[in-house]
Amino acid sequence: MYTVFVQTIINGLLLGGVYAAYSAGFSLIFGVMGVVNLAHGELIMLGAFTSYWLFAYFNLDPYLSAPFAMILLFLFGYVVQKYIINRVIGQPHIMSYILTFGLHLMIANIAIKMWTQDFRSITTSYSGANAAIWGLNIPLARLVTFMVALLVTWVLWFFLMRTETGRAIRATAQDKEVARLMGVDIRNIYAITFGLGAAITGLSGSVMSPFVIISPEMGLEYTIIAFCVVVLGGMGYMPGALVGGLVLGVAQSLAATYLNAGVSVAITFIILFIMLVICPKGILGKGSVA
């Protein structure tokens, strides 16, 4: 009884860590630019595929290919923002929804043309490995992803708080006109921000690749979860993604254990609904702005 409960919580935290890992970028992009990136899941997909192909052709371990996914996705995000999304900055929100939804469709469909709709997976020596401690099972790959989530949140926080560019990103998020007065080229800051968001999202896709199913159409469901996580934690508040992810993970895990597995998705949206009604600024009450 006790063991089941503890196991449920651990599963929940690990699941939440995965959620947090791939939601932080979504939160960053929203917080700085006010863009709800509906192509977020595609960034995860591209990260996962980067690891998949490097594994398939060079037998490179996904954890070793993660930096490649990061760099590739940074460049991808930078270019997408600079040449595409920057065109709708300052326009009504609906424009960025339409644009990023279009990107979602395009990226997913190009990926289908290139890689077919097949479901793929990466099987490593540790894919199904569990550490068993005191009768509890801890899936190692998920534990690593959880650590990555913590690390990403911390590094991002540090970057935003301590570096010139990070400070300029925060300034732009708070008041873009005054940021320009300080000499900040906000279009470049937007491109860097989107690049960073895409890089950490690609990284999460890469470190998730040993235990998720990889396919060109995988993105949308991740976008939806990321959206829920970020609303729960507070849109645009960096540590919020971590908190939102953990809360959602634990809630889903508890629902799966004590109610039934089918309910756990419904739970997500019930929590989201309640949250939006009682506290739209998120659990930590610090919506928007890094």
Partner: protein, 238 residues
């Protein structure tokens, strides 16, 4: 007289479809304090916007330091040595006082002087030094204005534009703000001040322009304007 640091020639500026400024001529010479006074809605802020580069004139030109800067965006203008304290201070509320000031020296040419600039700002405003770790949003109105002025100084400008620095401040603080502007100008900085507080701004400035309904209706030495019947009646309530 030597060359003006800022020369605005016959500019027209429109906001959406409404023409706000008509044929504005204005000059600011090095080390002067020049003020633009006028009622609410006369176009004072728009004039500063157009100077800084937020609004683009549809006619006329802005010359700064001998260089045409008409239509240059603000992020470039600040690199040329002109900056503005925006109306309502607009400090970064979620950032600490120190981070606000550091943002002021974001451009590379001023980043190298950051340390000495900070010292200078804390000399002007010891209060800011006491509040160095506080968030901008927790400061009082007067402190925010100090922070905004300090932040502008951090970029080491040669021309400082001030948009209604006394707005919403208690009378005692208004005096303090104007005293500080005089102190800052005494270091050799050129100041273009836009104000509704006509009495104080005429007192501290050398020359003044009167802006009404988007047109310059009068200009001259502040001392003379102070004794002008029209100014006395309309602005000084004497």
């Amino acid at each position: 007289m030597n060359e003006p640091l800022l020369k605005i020639e016959r500019i027209n500026v429109s906001y959406r479809d409404v023409q706000v400024l008509h044929e504005i001529d204005l000059e600011v010479y090095p080390s002067e304090i020049v003020t633009v006074i006028g009622p609410n809605g006369a176009g004072k802020s728009t004039l500063l916007s157009a100077t800084m580069g937020f609004a683009v004139p549809n006619k006329g030109s802005v010359t700064f330091n001998g260089k045409k800067i008409t239509g240059t965006p603000p992020e470039e203008t600040v690199r040329l040595g002109m900056t503005i304290v925006p109306e309502g201070a607009r400090v970064f509320t979620e950032m600490t006082v120190l981070d606000n000031l550091k943002m002021g020296s974001y451009i590379k040419s001023s980043r190298v002087h950051r340390k000495s600039s900070l010292e200078m700002v804390f000399n002007f405003f010891p209060r800011l030094h006491e509040r160095i770790k506080q968030k901008g949003g927790t400061l009082s109105g007067g402190e925010r204005q100090m922070l905004a002025i300090g932040r502008a100084l951090m970029s080491r400008p040669s021309l400082l534009l001030l948009d209604e620095p006394s707005l919403g401040l208690a009378p005692l603080l208004v005096t303090k703000v104007f005293e500080t502007i005089v102190e800052i100008a005494a270091t050799g900085l050129t100041v273009l001040l836009v104000e509704q507080n006509v009495h104080f701004s005429l007192e501290i400035s050398k020359r003044a322009y009167v802006l009404e309904n988007g047109r310059i209706v009068k200009h001259g030495f502040s001392e003379e304007l102070m004794n002008n019947d029209y100014i006395k009646k309309s602005y000084l309530a004497l």
